[in-house]
């Protein structure tokens, strides 16, 4: 089906119009063939009927002459030449008394016989005719009707004209009625499909238990709906597996770390305990990041999620500022003094911005200030005064496990991968540039998600 007929309704109606047209043509062709199969019999009958009509309207005048008072309807057949009909009324000698064309018009040169059916004598077979005797008053006459057979559509003309005039007009209201009924029938039949579509609209990765209702769905559409439901079941299963894996992995990794941590806290050797605690800290951090990466695989932003970027940044800074101060680095929040609302998930954005700020604090030089700038168009920039990021590394740093310096064991190179994933989930972009004064600027652009 081509693209002009997208809706089932227009398809049905257009197909039906085509069907009506085909049916009409079929009827006409059938009539033609039917009539064509017995031309002689039919022509004979048809011409005889015409002769009888003429006889009917012939009257003898007081002076003995004949008079023909054809009503307008049959007269038209002869006048218009429709069907190439002609008539002549002759006496026993073949003298023409009345004629459709001229009084001299003489059809049978050897005088009338009949009743008789004849064809034109020459090879061209240009006409057929009948000659019928009739008694009009006191006179014996022969009525001859001929039809020009060289004119195309001779028989059907008559039939079609008759059909269209008597029956044809009935077809118009019938077709209209059928088409209008189509409209309502299709709408009614497809109603359950519309309901199913509305249910499909409500599907959200957080509510994967939704299934399309198969109730009242037309049998033809049922396989589609069932296939969609099967697909949903598989997706739900996959999501559940992934989520359960994340939860199980978290439990299995964090509980032993807790035990380790408690045992270290109980150690008598304070110095050794301090070093070991730092190790557990690093391991916990990596485990946390791995779990976050796993969790983000199935993360989505719900339609109703909104986040104030300024507030999220402020909370990230509240969390990190004490650590930064201990490491003799400062943090400042600048930019829009008003809330900047975006469509976004607060915990996820918190995670992303936290990773950016943690990196900035880690890499900025001592006694410098990390600036977190929230721009009103929905962009968060984190500016530091560290070594910056070389052109070659600009893409690499967002890959999982990529680190510039593998000799440092702090961090697994997952932080920026988490940032990239959160950005992707929010349909934003994350870029890094170097400041003219040195240092890096990470720009998290969520302007596409800006609300209002």
């Amino acid at each position: 089906m081509n693209s002009h007929f997208k809706s089932i309704l227009t398809r049905i109606i257009s197909l039906q119009v085509v069907a009506f047209g085909v049916a009409l043509i079929a009827v006409l062709v059938a009539a033609h063939l039917l009539l064509g199969s017995g031309p002689v019999r039919f022509e004979n009958g048809s011409l005889r009927a015409h002769a009888a009509t003429i006889a009917n309207y012939l009257t003898q005048q007081a002076d003995g002459s004949l008079r023909l008072d054809l009503p307008s309807d049959p007269r038209r057949y002869y006048a218009s030449g429709l069907g190439g009909l002609a008539y002549a009324v002759t006496d026993a000698d073949g003298n023409v008394l009345l004629s459709s064309h001229s009084n001299q018009y003489r059809i049978l040169k050897n005088g009338p016989r009949g009743p008789v059916y004849f064809q034109s004598p020459n090879k061209r077979k240009s006409y057929i005719g009948v000659s019928i005797p009739a008694q009009i008053g006191s006179r014996q006459v022969w009525i001859q009707i001929t039809r020009n057979v060289r004119r195309p559509g001779l028989v059907t003309d008559d039939v079609i004209i008759h059909f269209l005039r008597r029956v044809g007009w009935l077809a118009v209201p019938i077709i209209l009625f059928v088409l209008i009924t189509d409209f309502f029938v299709v709408r009614r039949v497809l109603r359950p499909v519309v309901v199913a579509s509305e249910q499909a609209q409500a599907i959200d990765p957080r509510r994967l238990d939704v299934r399309l209702s198969t109730q009242d769905i037309p049998r033809e559409v049922q396989p589609l709906v069932e296939a969609v439901n099967d697909g949903l079941a598989r997706v739900e299963h996959g999501f559940r597996m992934q989520r359960n894996f994340t939860a199980d992995a978290a439990h299995e990794l964090r509980t032993p770390l807790s035990v380790l941590r408690m045992r270290i806290d109980n150690l008598a050797d304070r110095e050794a305990a301090k070093a070991l605690r730092a190790d557990v800290e690093v391991m916990s951090h990596v485990v946390n990041q791995l779990l976050e990466v796993a969790e983000l695989e199935t993360a989505v932003v719900a339609v109703e999620d909104t986040a104030d970027l300024r507030r999220v940044c402020s909370e990230v800074i509240e969390l990190i500022a004490p650590v930064a101060l201990s490491e003799e680095r400062d943090i400042a929040l600048t930019g829009s003094p008003e809330p900047v609302w975006v469509r976004g998930n607060v915990p996820m954005l918190f995670q992303a911005i936290r990773n950016l700020v943690e990196n900035a604090v880690k890499y900025t030089r001592k006694d410098s200030t990390v600036e977190v700038r929230v721009e009103p168009q929905g962009i968060v920039r984190v500016l530091d005064e560290g070594p910056g990021v070389s052109d070659a590394e600009r893409e690499l740093i967002f890959q999982r496990f990529w680190r510039r310096d593998h000799t440092r064991t702090v961090g697994a190179g997952l932080g920026l991968a988490i940032v990239a994933r959160v950005t992707e989930v929010h349909q934003g972009s994350i870029t890094v540039e170097n400041r003219p004064t040195g240092g890096a600027v990470f720009s998290l652009d969520l302007s596409n998600a800006l609300v209002g």
Binding site: A247, S258, M262, N266, N288, L291, E292, A332, P347
Partner: protein
């Protein structure tokens, strides 16, 4: 002496917890499943419940919800292995009073427990301190190195709100609210002026704690690095 219930399925972790809590002068009982927890809770009264979310007989937030549904007011501290984005919010919305993500520092657990055990009024009257700065919340008097300080009412209340949350950031809005509470006349830079004076005062009298400004966010008081 406060009696605690530890609901934790890991044998080792539970053992270490009970051991540590006993050393810190608590009495701690331990169960490993929700079924056992329901059983002991029906017979005993506890001051705080320490609850691990992932238990062998299911998600312990079910237990949490049913306790809250029966108006059980016992403070509940959640220990969760799933410190993931989703679960963090879930625990608190299910009715927990606080939560700690594994692995946690035992000191942090003790601090949270003490906070939960403290009656709201108990806060008052306890001297707070950071470095050599102490603050008597009952008398509303600040000391530096034991020497009483003469401060304005505004300075006192700003110092109090900062020292109550020492080492953590206090939002500028919260400090402003504190000042508005004192008098209707607060100019836009009143907080800055007050902080500036307080900072100068502390430095002048040799305090070993300092007030830091986190630009665009708030303030924080902390002990100076050695």
């Amino acid at each position: 002496m406060a009696r605690l219930l530890v609901i934790e399925d890991s044998e080792e972790l539970a053992g270490l917890l009970v051991e540590g809590l006993t050393r810190a002068d608590f009495v701690a009982d331990r169960v490993a499943t929700m079924a056992d927890a329901r059983d002991v809770l029906s017979r005993n009264q506890y001051s705080v419940i320490i609850l691990d979310l992932g238990l062998p007989d299911g998600d312990a937030s079910v237990l949490l919800r049913s306790l809250r549904a029966h108006d059980d007011p016992t403070p509940i501290l959640i220990l969760t292995a799933r410190g993931t984005i989703r679960d963090r919010v879930e625990g608190l919305s299910a009715g927990a009073d606080d939560y700690l993500v594994k692995p946690f520092a035992f000191e942090a657990l003790l601090a949270r427990l003490r906070a939960l055990l403290r009656r709201p009024g108990e806060f008052l009257g306890k001297p707070l301190s950071v470095g050599n700065v102490t603050f008597d919340t009952a008398a509303r008097q600040a000391f530096v190195g034991g020497v009483p300080q003469v401060l304005s009412a505004r300075e006192i209340s700003v110092l109090e709100i900062l020292i109550r949350r020492s080492g953590r950031v206090v939002q500028k809005g919260a400090v402003e609210d504190q000042l508005y509470g004192l008098s209707g006349d607060v100019r836009s830079n009143a907080v800055e002026v007050c902080i500036h004076r307080l900072r100068k005062h502390l430095a002048d009298v040799g305090a070993t704690a300092n007030i830091h400004t986190i630009r665009g966010v708030g303030y924080l008081i902390r002990e100076n690095e050695a």
